[in-house]
């Protein structure tokens, strides 16, 4: 294995006492003050995450919109400039190559934010598809991941101070970040550089993701910590990011999603536009008509148990009906929670299941996503 890569903020994390782990080939902070503390901080105040490991691909050119419509499951052509959507890229068999966010940042320019571990595959695949699309001169795919860093600032208090980051209005449409609606993006100037600011996140809380050139990210991080100080901001690691997303039932590539799992099986049908043609459409159309053989569902442990973990078998009576894809002890719900691929016809909210943990079975219940809702 090659040495793990480090983000520009690595020294900042070390100075903050972060414990780091390898994540998709990156040495990333898993926690600073503690996963549970950081989780609660994001739910109640505000947490700051380094997400610079994520990939940024720029897709531009005269036929960029048409190309993305033919490549991704969701409809890029529905986006106005400054809007964003969650979407998926599938293989011919309808399996998920990656899940990603597409931001329309100009009429024919899109920013694609992809999973760190999938950057090389995504890039190669998109470049290959451009050739297949027959439009190498009018669609251009460029990997900006090495030049760009990113942070997510998430939690109910973020809105109180985020506007103070910038002195000038956004270049696309809005006066200041707090004027962005959910899934909108704008460009603001920070230290003379363009910073993409979107009202998106992976925590279920209000918040923003900021993508900036490497040379200003350390200053941007410091400024956010400073502005957020009186609002309870704390740095938060991938550990809390994982427990927060599990409470929301958000999928994580390599767990809920893989090349062997379709968006419909993952419960992401609302991000698949069956009215258009895209790669994998044939198989997904078939799955939609016939029904899928399994579906990813959330579940909650209903009695005291060890935390559920990926790979644990799921039972109904004497039939093994599925496998856990992600699990943890939920800091907000104070119970074991998770997600699991459940064979049909058992994937129904309210169904009583058992999770097998080290040879013993513990009762749980299938639930609709999200498991956590703000009171």
């Amino acid at each position: 294995m090659a040495d793990p890569r480090r983000t520009t903020l690595f020294e900042t994390h070390q100075a903050l006492g972060a414990r780091c782990i390898d994540f998709g080939g990156w040495e990333m902070p898993v926690q600073y003050s503690g996963i549970v503390d950081e989780h609660r901080t994001v739910r109640e105040a505000c947490g700051l995450f380094d997400i610079s490991h994520m990939g940024e691909l720029m897709v531009g050119g005269a036929r960029a919109t048409e190309f993305l419509d033919s490549t991704l499951t969701n409809t890029a052509s529905n986006l106005a400039v400054g809007d964003a959507q969650y979407t998926l890229m599938c293989n011919e068999r309808g399996g998920v190559l990656d899940d990603l966010y597409v931001y329309r940042i100009a009429k024919e320019v899109y920013l694609l934010v992809v999973n760190a571990s999938r950057i090389p595959q995504d890039l190669a695949e998109l470049q290959r598809l451009v050739i297949e699309f027959g439009s190498t001169r009018t669609v251009n795919v460029v990997d900006e991941s090495d030049n760009l860093s990113a942070v997510a600032v998430q939690g109910p208090h973020v809105n109180r101070f985020v506007n103070q980051l910038f002195t000038m209005p956004g270049l696309i449409a809005v006066e200041h970040p707090a004027a962005l609606e959910k899934n909108q993006i704008d460009v603001f100037i920070f230290e003379g550089k363009d910073v993409y600011v979107s009202r998106t996140g992976y925590t279920g809380e209000d918040g923003f993701e900021l993508i900036a050139p490497n040379e200003v990210i350390t200053t941007l991080w410091g400024r956010l910590m400073e502005l957020g100080q009186d609002h309870g901001i704390k740095p938060a690691g991938l550990g809390a990011r994982d427990t927060l997303r599990m409470e929301m039932g958000y999928p994580l590539y390599g767990h809920e999603l893989s090349e062997e799992v379709s968006p419909l099986e993952a419960g992401l049908g609302c991000f698949v536009d069956m009215e258009k043609s895209f790669r994998g459409r044939g198989e997904l159309g078939h799955q939609k008509n016939e029904g899928t053989t399994r579906r990813n569902m959330a579940f909650t442990m209903i009695a005291k148990s060890p935390p559920p973990r990926e790979g644990y078998p799921v039972w109904i009576g004497e039939e093994k009906v599925g496998t856990v894809t992600s699990g943890t002890q939920s800091p907000s719900l104070q119970a074991g929670i998770g997600m699991a691929h459940i064979n049909q016809p058992y994937a129904k909210a309210g169904a009583e299941i058992e999770i097998e943990i080290r040879g013993r079975r513990f009762p749980a219940e299938l639930r609709k996503k999200p498991l956590y809702q703000k009171s």
């Binding site: 996963i35 550990g239 427990t243 935390p307 943890t328 002890q329 080290r358």
Partner: protein, 128 residues
Amino acid sequence: MSNIPDHLKYTASHEWIRIEGDTAVIGVTDHAQAELTDIVYVELPEVGRTLAAGEGCGVVESVKTASDLYAPIAGEITEINSALEDAPEQVNESPYDNGWFFKLKFSSDPDLSGMLDAAGYASQIGES
């Protein structure tokens, strides 16, 4: 720097042992609890079970991972800290006192030669 009391013995797998007459009290070290992070579940062996030295006998689970627990010496389980069932966070808060795991009664004098003293354990975890 983690807390490593001088009067205890330690294993390379991060358990501590305190000898009280013919009984050994066992828990995990301050360093281990900090590495494990927020402990949310502790599975302990049953009272009366006889364990060989090095035998797996329980599991400590944090939010992030599950880690096995080993019997540092051979003996019979005489008592477990059942308070951990409802308050596993005691392992984080008080690893050497309220966060103890179980007591083992040994029949012959236990072989502690493979155990580390405080200085040895500090060096093992890179804190000497």
